[in-house]
């Protein structure tokens, strides 16, 4: 029985991930309307292209400098939050982030609070340990990128709500 575990385990893990992906896909399909799905598709594409460009730029920088320019954690943060930021700004900017029956204002406030907390923590971390390692590598705290991304998205969402309220008054 033990000999089969290396074969069965990856299959089980794969099936679990497949189940989660199908559940998320069906949830996604029921949540957003057709225009929002179109916008979100474009936002995902933009995020993917930004990730590709960032990866290319990082490799070129490494070739040019003949060493990494930042710590692995900073690299992971950038490759995570640059695409996420692009996705959030496009989706929020075109009113495709909150599902039709959701509350855009509540989403905006939640993003704003999350961004504010992350940014405050990032500033604290930055003051505590600086931005460069002793080896001269850029070392950005994770929240240093996440904070502005969420903060900007929250502000944009609230601005969109305000604009929608003005349109309603007209």
């Amino acid at each position: 029985m033990g000999a089969f575990i290396p074969v069965i385990l990856p299959i089980c893990i794969g099936l679990i991930f497949l189940g989660i992906a199908i559940a998320l896909a069906s949830l996604e399909a029921n949540r957003y309307d057709e225009r929002q799905k179109l916008v979100r598709g474009n936002a995902y594409a933009a995020a993917f292209h930004i990730l590709l460009i960032y990866t290319l730029a990082t490799h070129l920088a490494e070739i040019w400098l003949e060493r990494p320019w930042c710590t692995p954690m900073t690299n992971i943060s950038l490759s995570l939050y640059l695409p996420l930021g692009a996705f959030l700004l496009i989706a929020v900017g075109k009113d495709a982030y909150t599902r039709p029956k959701g509350s855009p204002r509540r989403t905006g406030v939640a993003l704003l609070i999350a961004g504010g907390i992350m940014l405050a923590y990032a500033v604290f971390e930055w003051k505590r340990r600086g931005i460069l390692t002793p080896e001269g590598l850029v070392d950005l705290p994770l929240h240093f990128l996440a904070g502005p991304v969420f903060l900007l998205s929250g502000l944009l969402q609230l601005w969109r709500c305000r604009r929608a309220a003005k349109e309603d008054q007209k």
Partner: protein, 63 residues
Amino acid sequence: MKNLRLKAARAAKDLSQEALANLVGVSRQTINAIERGDYNPTIRLCIDICKVLGKTLDELFWE
């Protein structure tokens, strides 16, 4: 191109964008985008809107 006929039909039924959006199951911004001519809805959504407003596709969406 703005869809003024949709706006007029909605107003005639005394429905806000929000109310129409809820009836057809989309966001208010989607109805707003259709009325402003910024978004071309699928035929399925056009039919749903026509049913709610009691109009035909020709009356609301044919140029």
